[in-house]
Symmetry: C2
Subunit: 183 residues, 2 copies
DNA sequence: GTCTATATCGAGATAGAC
DNA sequence: GTCTATCTCGATATAGAC
Protein backbone atom coordinates (compact mmCIF):
# COMPACT_ATOMS: atom_id res chain seq x y z
CA UNK A 1 0.00 0.00 0.00
CA UNK A 2 1.97 2.90 -1.34
CA UNK A 3 -0.54 5.48 -0.11
CA UNK A 4 -0.16 4.34 3.46
CA UNK A 5 3.61 4.46 3.16
CA UNK A 6 3.53 8.13 2.20
CA UNK A 7 1.42 8.93 5.22
CA UNK A 8 3.64 6.91 7.54
CA UNK A 9 6.67 8.74 6.18
CA UNK A 10 5.09 12.14 6.59
CA UNK A 11 3.47 11.80 9.98
CA UNK A 12 5.13 8.78 11.54
CA UNK A 13 3.70 5.29 11.82
CA UNK A 14 1.95 5.67 15.13
CA UNK A 15 0.66 9.14 14.42
CA UNK A 16 -1.02 7.97 11.23
CA UNK A 17 -4.52 6.65 11.83
CA UNK A 18 -6.23 3.93 9.85
CA UNK A 19 -8.96 6.44 9.12
CA UNK A 20 -6.44 8.73 7.40
CA UNK A 21 -5.16 5.82 5.33
CA UNK A 22 -8.69 4.91 4.34
CA UNK A 23 -9.46 8.55 3.47
CA UNK A 24 -6.43 8.69 1.19
CA UNK A 25 -7.60 5.50 -0.49
CA UNK A 26 -11.10 6.89 -0.89
CA UNK A 27 -12.81 4.29 1.28
CA UNK A 28 -13.93 4.04 4.89
CA UNK A 29 -11.75 2.73 7.68
CA UNK A 30 -13.69 -0.46 8.15
CA UNK A 31 -13.19 -1.39 4.51
CA UNK A 32 -9.43 -1.33 4.94
CA UNK A 33 -9.61 -4.52 6.95
CA UNK A 34 -10.75 -6.39 3.90
CA UNK A 35 -7.25 -5.81 2.46
CA UNK A 36 -5.13 -5.97 5.62
CA UNK A 37 -5.67 -7.66 8.93
CA UNK A 38 -3.98 -4.89 10.92
CA UNK A 39 -2.16 -1.61 10.65
CA UNK A 40 1.06 -3.35 11.54
CA UNK A 41 0.68 -5.69 8.59
CA UNK A 42 0.78 -2.69 6.29
CA UNK A 43 3.95 -1.46 7.93
CA UNK A 44 5.43 -4.94 7.79
CA UNK A 45 4.86 -5.27 4.06
CA UNK A 46 6.44 -1.89 3.36
CA UNK A 47 9.51 -2.51 5.50
CA UNK A 48 10.19 -5.99 4.20
CA UNK A 49 10.14 -4.89 0.58
CA UNK A 50 12.53 -2.11 1.40
CA UNK A 51 15.11 -4.16 3.26
CA UNK A 52 15.13 -6.91 0.68
CA UNK A 53 16.00 -4.41 -2.03
CA UNK A 54 18.73 -2.72 -0.02
CA UNK A 55 20.35 -5.99 0.95
CA UNK A 56 20.35 -7.02 -2.71
CA UNK A 57 22.33 -3.87 -3.55
CA UNK A 58 24.89 -4.52 -0.87
CA UNK A 59 25.37 -8.16 -1.80
CA UNK A 60 25.71 -7.34 -5.49
CA UNK A 61 28.37 -4.72 -4.77
CA UNK A 62 30.40 -7.17 -2.70
CA UNK A 63 30.01 -9.88 -5.31
CA UNK A 64 31.77 -7.77 -7.93
CA UNK A 65 35.00 -8.59 -6.13
CA UNK A 66 36.23 -5.06 -6.75
CA UNK A 67 38.63 -3.26 -4.43
CA UNK A 68 37.18 -1.65 -1.28
CA UNK A 69 36.98 1.87 -2.63
CA UNK A 70 35.08 0.70 -5.71
CA UNK A 71 32.78 -1.51 -3.65
CA UNK A 72 31.89 1.36 -1.34
CA UNK A 73 31.29 3.68 -4.26
CA UNK A 74 29.05 1.08 -5.89
CA UNK A 75 27.13 0.63 -2.67
CA UNK A 76 26.61 4.35 -2.34
CA UNK A 77 25.55 4.82 -5.94
CA UNK A 78 23.18 1.87 -6.20
CA UNK A 79 21.69 1.95 -2.74
CA UNK A 80 20.98 5.66 -2.93
CA UNK A 81 18.58 5.01 -5.77
CA UNK A 82 16.98 2.20 -3.81
CA UNK A 83 16.69 4.39 -0.74
CA UNK A 84 15.05 7.08 -2.82
CA UNK A 85 12.53 4.64 -4.23
CA UNK A 86 11.74 3.44 -0.71
CA UNK A 87 11.73 6.92 0.83
CA UNK A 88 8.66 6.20 2.85
CA UNK A 89 9.99 2.95 4.26
CA UNK A 90 13.26 4.51 5.32
CA UNK A 91 11.52 7.40 7.01
CA UNK A 92 9.43 4.89 8.95
CA UNK A 93 12.55 3.04 9.98
CA UNK A 94 14.22 6.19 11.23
CA UNK A 95 11.23 7.75 12.95
CA UNK A 96 9.78 4.71 14.59
CA UNK A 97 12.85 2.53 15.02
CA UNK A 98 12.37 1.99 18.74
CA UNK A 99 8.77 1.01 18.15
CA UNK A 100 9.45 -1.51 15.39
CA UNK A 101 12.72 -2.94 16.64
CA UNK A 102 11.18 -3.74 19.99
CA UNK A 103 8.70 -6.19 18.49
CA UNK A 104 9.53 -9.81 17.66
CA UNK A 105 7.53 -9.53 14.46
CA UNK A 106 10.06 -7.03 13.12
CA UNK A 107 13.14 -8.97 14.18
CA UNK A 108 14.36 -9.05 10.57
CA UNK A 109 15.10 -5.35 10.83
CA UNK A 110 17.96 -5.90 13.25
CA UNK A 111 19.29 -8.80 11.21
CA UNK A 112 19.37 -6.77 8.01
CA UNK A 113 21.17 -3.88 9.67
CA UNK A 114 23.74 -6.26 11.10
CA UNK A 115 24.52 -7.63 7.65
CA UNK A 116 24.90 -4.12 6.28
CA UNK A 117 27.23 -3.18 9.12
CA UNK A 118 29.43 -6.20 8.52
CA UNK A 119 29.83 -5.33 4.86
CA UNK A 120 30.94 -1.76 5.53
CA UNK A 121 33.39 -2.79 8.22
CA UNK A 122 34.90 -5.54 6.10
CA UNK A 123 35.53 -3.09 3.27
CA UNK A 124 37.07 -0.55 5.63
CA UNK A 125 39.42 -3.10 7.12
CA UNK A 126 40.50 -4.36 3.71
CA UNK A 127 41.07 -0.83 2.50
CA UNK A 128 43.17 -0.05 5.55
CA UNK A 129 45.29 -3.15 5.02
CA UNK A 130 45.80 -2.19 1.39
CA UNK A 131 46.88 1.29 2.47
CA UNK A 132 44.19 3.17 0.55
CA UNK A 133 42.17 4.24 3.60
CA UNK A 134 43.57 6.09 6.60
CA UNK A 135 45.07 3.71 9.11
CA UNK A 136 43.57 5.60 12.04
CA UNK A 137 40.01 5.11 10.79
CA UNK A 138 37.70 3.66 13.46
CA UNK A 139 35.81 1.25 11.19
CA UNK A 140 32.76 0.79 13.36
CA UNK A 141 32.39 4.46 14.27
CA UNK A 142 32.94 5.58 10.69
CA UNK A 143 30.40 3.06 9.48
CA UNK A 144 27.75 4.32 11.89
CA UNK A 145 28.37 7.89 10.80
CA UNK A 146 28.33 7.06 7.09
CA UNK A 147 25.33 4.80 7.16
CA UNK A 148 23.29 7.39 8.98
CA UNK A 149 24.60 10.08 6.65
CA UNK A 150 23.48 8.08 3.64
CA UNK A 151 20.05 7.87 5.17
CA UNK A 152 19.69 11.57 5.78
CA UNK A 153 18.71 12.98 2.39
CA UNK A 154 15.89 10.52 1.92
CA UNK A 155 14.31 12.08 4.94
CA UNK A 156 14.16 15.41 3.16
CA UNK A 157 11.06 16.56 1.38
CA UNK A 158 10.24 14.70 -1.81
CA UNK A 159 10.73 16.58 -5.05
CA UNK A 160 12.88 19.23 -3.47
CA UNK A 161 15.92 21.25 -4.42
CA UNK A 162 18.45 18.54 -5.11
CA UNK A 163 18.39 15.55 -7.40
CA UNK A 164 19.57 12.19 -6.22
CA UNK A 165 22.77 12.24 -8.33
CA UNK A 166 23.62 15.66 -6.96
CA UNK A 167 23.31 14.39 -3.42
CA UNK A 168 25.33 11.27 -4.17
CA UNK A 169 28.16 13.28 -5.68
CA UNK A 170 28.21 15.65 -2.74
CA UNK A 171 28.36 12.70 -0.40
CA UNK A 172 31.07 10.85 -2.31
CA UNK A 173 33.31 13.86 -2.60
CA UNK A 174 32.84 14.52 1.09
CA UNK A 175 33.62 10.90 1.80
CA UNK A 176 36.81 10.77 -0.22
CA UNK A 177 38.10 14.31 -0.02
CA UNK A 178 36.42 16.33 2.72
CA UNK A 179 35.56 19.95 2.10
CA UNK A 180 39.10 21.30 1.76
CA UNK A 181 40.57 22.65 -1.43
CA UNK A 182 43.43 20.42 -2.56
CA UNK A 183 46.75 21.67 -1.19
CA UNK B 1 11.37 17.94 33.66
CA UNK B 2 14.43 15.90 32.82
CA UNK B 3 12.68 12.60 33.45
CA UNK B 4 10.06 13.35 30.83
CA UNK B 5 12.75 14.34 28.36
CA UNK B 6 14.43 10.96 28.63
CA UNK B 7 11.16 9.20 27.94
CA UNK B 8 10.37 11.47 25.00
CA UNK B 9 13.80 10.76 23.55
CA UNK B 10 13.49 7.03 24.00
CA UNK B 11 9.93 6.47 22.82
CA UNK B 12 9.03 9.60 20.92
CA UNK B 13 6.92 12.48 22.15
CA UNK B 14 3.55 11.22 21.05
CA UNK B 15 4.21 7.64 22.03
CA UNK B 16 5.06 8.67 25.59
CA UNK B 17 2.01 8.84 27.83
CA UNK B 18 1.54 11.17 30.75
CA UNK B 19 1.01 8.09 32.87
CA UNK B 20 4.52 6.89 32.03
CA UNK B 21 5.94 10.27 32.92
CA UNK B 22 4.08 10.26 36.21
CA UNK B 23 5.24 6.71 36.92
CA UNK B 24 8.85 7.74 36.35
CA UNK B 25 8.33 10.65 38.72
CA UNK B 26 6.75 8.39 41.33
CA UNK B 27 3.35 10.07 41.33
CA UNK B 28 0.01 9.54 39.63
CA UNK B 29 -0.89 11.04 36.29
CA UNK B 30 -3.43 13.46 37.69
CA UNK B 31 -0.81 14.96 39.99
CA UNK B 32 1.37 15.90 37.02
CA UNK B 33 -1.08 18.62 36.12
CA UNK B 34 -0.24 20.48 39.27
CA UNK B 35 3.22 21.10 37.75
CA UNK B 36 2.35 21.45 34.06
CA UNK B 37 -0.83 22.49 32.33
CA UNK B 38 -0.31 20.08 29.43
CA UNK B 39 1.99 17.51 27.93
CA UNK B 40 2.95 19.99 25.24
CA UNK B 41 4.12 22.48 27.84
CA UNK B 42 6.66 19.95 29.01
CA UNK B 43 7.91 19.48 25.47
CA UNK B 44 7.96 23.23 24.93
CA UNK B 45 10.12 23.84 27.97
CA UNK B 46 12.61 21.16 26.93
CA UNK B 47 12.91 22.35 23.34
CA UNK B 48 13.28 26.02 24.18
CA UNK B 49 16.12 25.40 26.60
CA UNK B 50 17.89 23.33 24.00
CA UNK B 51 17.63 25.78 21.11
CA UNK B 52 18.69 28.73 23.23
CA UNK B 53 21.90 26.93 24.19
CA UNK B 54 22.72 25.85 20.65
CA UNK B 55 22.14 29.30 19.23
CA UNK B 56 24.43 30.73 21.89
CA UNK B 57 27.20 28.39 20.70
CA UNK B 58 26.78 29.42 17.09
CA UNK B 59 26.70 33.12 17.85
CA UNK B 60 29.76 32.90 20.06
CA UNK B 61 31.72 31.09 17.36
CA UNK B 62 30.87 33.74 14.78
CA UNK B 63 31.70 36.53 17.20
CA UNK B 64 35.29 35.33 17.53
CA UNK B 65 35.88 36.83 14.09
CA UNK B 66 38.11 33.88 13.20
CA UNK B 67 38.52 32.57 9.68
CA UNK B 68 35.81 30.23 8.30
CA UNK B 69 37.63 26.99 8.94
CA UNK B 70 38.26 27.95 12.58
CA UNK B 71 34.68 29.15 13.07
CA UNK B 72 33.29 25.88 11.74
CA UNK B 73 35.63 23.85 13.91
CA UNK B 74 34.61 25.91 16.95
CA UNK B 75 30.95 25.38 16.13
CA UNK B 76 31.44 21.66 15.81
CA UNK B 77 33.44 21.34 19.01
CA UNK B 78 31.26 23.52 21.23
CA UNK B 79 27.87 22.59 19.87
CA UNK B 80 28.60 18.88 20.04
CA UNK B 81 28.88 19.16 23.80
CA UNK B 82 25.67 21.14 23.93
CA UNK B 83 23.93 18.60 21.74
CA UNK B 84 25.12 15.83 24.02
CA UNK B 85 23.79 17.62 27.10
CA UNK B 86 20.46 18.09 25.37
CA UNK B 87 20.36 14.59 23.87
CA UNK B 88 16.72 14.15 24.75
CA UNK B 89 15.66 17.44 23.22
CA UNK B 90 17.47 16.76 19.97
CA UNK B 91 15.97 13.31 19.67
CA UNK B 92 12.54 14.87 20.13
CA UNK B 93 13.28 17.38 17.42
CA UNK B 94 14.37 14.69 14.99
CA UNK B 95 11.66 12.16 15.73
CA UNK B 96 8.70 14.45 16.00
CA UNK B 97 9.76 17.33 13.77
CA UNK B 98 6.67 17.22 11.59
CA UNK B 99 4.49 17.21 14.68
CA UNK B 100 6.16 20.14 16.41
CA UNK B 101 6.97 22.28 13.40
CA UNK B 102 3.37 22.18 12.27
CA UNK B 103 2.15 23.97 15.37
CA UNK B 104 2.22 27.77 15.78
CA UNK B 105 3.28 27.34 19.38
CA UNK B 106 6.58 25.86 18.21
CA UNK B 107 7.27 28.43 15.51
CA UNK B 108 10.57 29.32 17.18
CA UNK B 109 11.93 25.98 16.02
CA UNK B 110 11.91 27.02 12.38
CA UNK B 111 13.37 30.40 13.21
CA UNK B 112 16.27 28.90 15.12
CA UNK B 113 17.09 26.46 12.34
CA UNK B 114 17.06 29.28 9.81
CA UNK B 115 19.59 31.22 11.82
CA UNK B 116 21.82 28.17 12.07
CA UNK B 117 21.60 27.59 8.33
CA UNK B 118 22.56 31.16 7.57
CA UNK B 119 25.66 30.91 9.72
CA UNK B 120 26.91 27.73 8.03
CA UNK B 121 26.30 29.08 4.55
CA UNK B 122 27.99 32.38 5.28
CA UNK B 123 31.10 30.58 6.49
CA UNK B 124 31.15 28.31 3.45
CA UNK B 125 30.89 31.22 1.06
CA UNK B 126 33.63 33.15 2.83
CA UNK B 127 35.88 30.10 2.82
CA UNK B 128 35.28 29.57 -0.88
CA UNK B 129 36.15 33.19 -1.65
CA UNK B 130 39.32 32.86 0.40
CA UNK B 131 40.24 29.73 -1.53
CA UNK B 132 40.42 27.42 1.48
CA UNK B 133 37.23 25.45 0.65
CA UNK B 134 36.54 23.71 -2.64
CA UNK B 135 35.04 26.11 -5.16
CA UNK B 136 32.53 23.53 -6.38
CA UNK B 137 31.00 23.14 -2.92
CA UNK B 138 27.21 23.53 -2.95
CA UNK B 139 26.90 25.55 0.25
CA UNK B 140 23.26 24.86 0.98
CA UNK B 141 23.44 21.17 0.17
CA UNK B 142 26.64 20.69 2.12
CA UNK B 143 25.13 22.51 5.09
CA UNK B 144 22.07 20.27 5.11
CA UNK B 145 24.26 17.18 5.01
CA UNK B 146 26.63 18.40 7.70
CA UNK B 147 23.99 19.70 10.08
CA UNK B 148 22.14 16.44 9.94
CA UNK B 149 25.39 14.54 10.28
CA UNK B 150 26.23 16.48 13.42
CA UNK B 151 22.86 15.53 14.81
CA UNK B 152 23.27 11.84 14.21
CA UNK B 153 25.45 10.64 17.08
CA UNK B 154 23.27 12.23 19.68
CA UNK B 155 20.57 9.91 18.54
CA UNK B 156 22.69 6.94 19.49
CA UNK B 157 22.26 5.19 22.79
CA UNK B 158 23.47 7.11 25.82
CA UNK B 159 26.62 5.85 27.48
CA UNK B 160 27.64 3.75 24.52
CA UNK B 161 30.82 2.79 22.77
CA UNK B 162 32.18 6.18 21.79
CA UNK B 163 32.91 9.27 23.80
CA UNK B 164 31.86 12.67 22.55
CA UNK B 165 35.44 13.79 21.76
CA UNK B 166 36.00 10.61 19.77
CA UNK B 167 32.93 11.31 17.68
CA UNK B 168 33.87 14.92 17.16
CA UNK B 169 37.34 13.99 15.96
CA UNK B 170 35.96 11.42 13.58
CA UNK B 171 33.57 13.97 12.21
CA UNK B 172 36.13 16.73 11.85
CA UNK B 173 38.66 14.55 10.09
CA UNK B 174 35.93 13.34 7.76
CA UNK B 175 34.89 16.92 7.15
CA UNK B 176 38.34 18.21 6.34
CA UNK B 177 40.04 15.17 4.84
CA UNK B 178 37.59 12.44 3.86
CA UNK B 179 38.51 8.83 4.47
CA UNK B 180 41.41 8.59 2.02
CA UNK B 181 45.02 8.11 3.03
CA UNK B 182 47.00 11.19 2.04
CA UNK B 183 48.54 10.77 -1.42
C1' DG C 1 1.13 18.50 46.36
C1' DT C 2 -0.87 14.13 45.76
C1' DC C 3 -4.78 11.39 45.79
C1' DT C 4 -9.46 9.16 43.76
C1' DA C 5 -12.64 9.31 40.39
C1' DT C 6 -14.27 10.47 36.17
C1' DA C 7 -15.26 13.15 31.80
C1' DT C 8 -14.18 13.14 26.98
C1' DC C 9 -12.22 11.84 23.05
C1' DG C 10 -10.06 9.27 19.33
C1' DA C 11 -7.73 5.12 18.32
C1' DG C 12 -7.73 0.10 16.21
C1' DA C 13 -10.62 -3.37 15.10
C1' DT C 14 -15.08 -6.28 14.23
C1' DA C 15 -19.88 -7.83 12.53
C1' DG C 16 -23.02 -8.13 9.34
C1' DA C 17 -26.06 -5.81 5.73
C1' DC C 18 -25.76 -4.64 0.87
C1' DG D 1 -15.37 -4.85 -1.80
C1' DT D 2 -17.49 -1.21 0.63
C1' DC D 3 -20.81 0.30 3.70
C1' DT D 4 -23.04 1.34 8.65
C1' DA D 5 -22.74 0.69 13.25
C1' DT D 6 -20.47 -0.38 17.19
C1' DC D 7 -17.15 -2.47 20.65
C1' DT D 8 -13.23 -1.80 23.48
C1' DC D 9 -9.45 0.34 25.01
C1' DG D 10 -6.20 3.76 26.33
C1' DA D 11 -5.13 8.53 25.93
C1' DT D 12 -5.24 13.63 27.86
C1' DA D 13 -7.19 16.28 31.04
C1' DT D 14 -10.33 17.88 35.02
C1' DA D 15 -12.72 18.26 39.75
C1' DG D 16 -12.61 18.07 44.22
C1' DA D 17 -11.41 15.48 48.64
C1' DC D 18 -7.47 15.00 51.76
Amino acid sequence: MVLAGELFAEKGFRATTVREIADAAGILSGSLYHHFDSKESIGDEILQGFLNDVLADYRAAVDTGDDPRAVLETIVRTSTGTLARHRAALAMLQNDWTYFSGQPRFGYLRKALQEIEKIWITQFEEGKRAGVFRADLDAKLTYRLLRDILWIPVHWQPGNQWSTPQIVDAFLSLLFHGINEKP
